[in-house]
């Protein structure tokens, strides 16, 4: 790893000694990730992030019709936009299998996150796989949020991951393609989408380390127990709606608070040392509310997204701090908002 950071600065395409060294480091990173995932190194590609991995997953599988849930990542929705059917989800974030059945046709491609990205609701990936198999299609599984918390489904054609979910560097997406998928990585000449080789090596080492430190099942057990407990406590707060179904996966939990701004809640929690995200329009860079919450019929204002870190002790302390701080933050902000002159 240190050697990689120190010496793997050259382009792996270079024919000089430094280029060959960088190429060896990149090959070792691919082999390491392949071993962690139980697939072939030839099918491993690094990209600049999960969005770019999804975009390349779709375009590298060729022209075909697509079906995907309304709650998929915007990168998946936009890349398939010319030929996609959007399928609904229920109020718990579970996708509508009947909607997929209705969209089934020869050569169909499906993109699915293994669980809902905000609610953690696991999706019926096996049923979707059977559907694509029956129609000569392909299944792209986006497991990017959940890799350290749940083993990826056993079968997929293309799997998409993101290194910072397992403590790797930011800006590294991973795309794994099975040979049977006839996948071709689209990388037009002159457009290098891959992250620096040193970051690829760091991502691969962090994945090995994460999986060696604790099995995903153990992490899932404490993570979902912690979030289930927090969800019950938060749901008791007045004018707060918590979106978490029984059996939902860690590490995500989302809730919306009436009569406050999502931006102000994030800022007030940040002042107290608690870092949360938000799907409210006022926080989003595109000024659009969370399409995931809108799809489940949730309230998008005053939204708080909780995502656990990988250390159980630190994650537990952070959640407890949130539970202590949020009632006070909401009371203060609501007082201000209600008394604001119109």
């Amino acid at each position: 790893m240190v050697a990689a950071l120190d010496r793997a600065w050259a382009s792996p395409a270079g024919t000089h000694a430094e280029g060959r060294f960088a190429s060896d480091v990149a090959s070792a990173a691919r082999a390491s990730v392949a071993k962690s995932l139980g697939c072939q190194p030839e099918g491993i590609y690094f990209t600049s992030g999960v969005g770019s991995a999804l975009e390349r997953a779709v375009t590298g599988l060729g022209e075909r019709p697509w079906a995907l849930a309304a709650t998929e990542r915007l990168a998946a929705l936009s890349t398939t936009a010319e030929r996609h059917t959007i399928v609904g989800v229920d109020s718990q974030g579970a996708l509508d299998l009947e909607g997929f059945r209705a969209a089934a046709q020869p050569n169909l491609g499906i993109v699915v996150q293994s669980a809902n990205p905000e609610l953690g609701t696991p999706q019926p990936v096996e049923s979707l796989l059977a559907m694509t198999r029956a129609h000569g299609g392909v299944l792209v599984v986006d497991h990017s949020l959940f890799m350290p918390w749940a083993t990826p489904p056993a079968e997929w054609d293309v799997l998409v991951l993101e290194a910072n979910s397992w403590g790797g560097p930011p800006g590294v997406g991973v795309l794994a393609a099975r040979a049977s998928a006839n996948y071709r990585f689209p990388d037009p000449e002159g457009v290098d989408s891959s992250p620096p080789v040193a970051l690829q090596a760091a991502a691969a080492a962090a994945l090995e380390d994460c999986l060696a430190r604790s099995p995903q099942t153990a992490r899932q057990e404490w993570g979902s127990r912690l979030l289930d407990g927090a969800a019950a406590e938060l749901a008791a707060l007045p004018n707060v709606e918590v979106y978490r179904a029984p059996g939902a996966w860690a590490p995500v939990l989302t809730l919306s608070c009436l009569y406050v701004s999502g931006m102000q809640v994030v800022q007030e929690l940040d002042r107290r040392g608690i870092a949360v995200g938000s799907g409210s329009a006022c926080v989003a860079s595109a000024f659009e509310p969370s399409h995931v919450l809108a799809a489940i019929g949730g309230f998008t204002g005053g939204n708080v997204r909780v995502s656990l870190g990988l250390d159980e002790h630190e994650a537990t302390e952070a959640v407890q701090a949130l539970l202590r701080a949020l009632p006070e933050v909401l009371a203060e902000l609501r007082e201000d908002e209600w008394n604001k002159p119109s």
Binding site: S256, S261, S280, A281, G298, F299, G302, W338
Partner: protein
Amino acid sequence: MEQAELDERGRLCPEPIIALAQAAKAAERGDRLVLLTDDPGAKPDVIAWCRMTGATLIDQSEQPDHLRSTIEF
């Protein structure tokens, strides 16, 4: 039964929903309110607010530059 109009165009979340809640507080059961908004979160949020508070969303329609929601308390 009264039908008032609340023009919240130009105001961002959470203001339109707070104004809606304040109007609900002052309303009689069965009163209707037409709410005009252009906040990007208003469409899902008016639907969710009605569900959460027991109000009825009679109609919601996109106008060229705003959203028009009719709510019965």
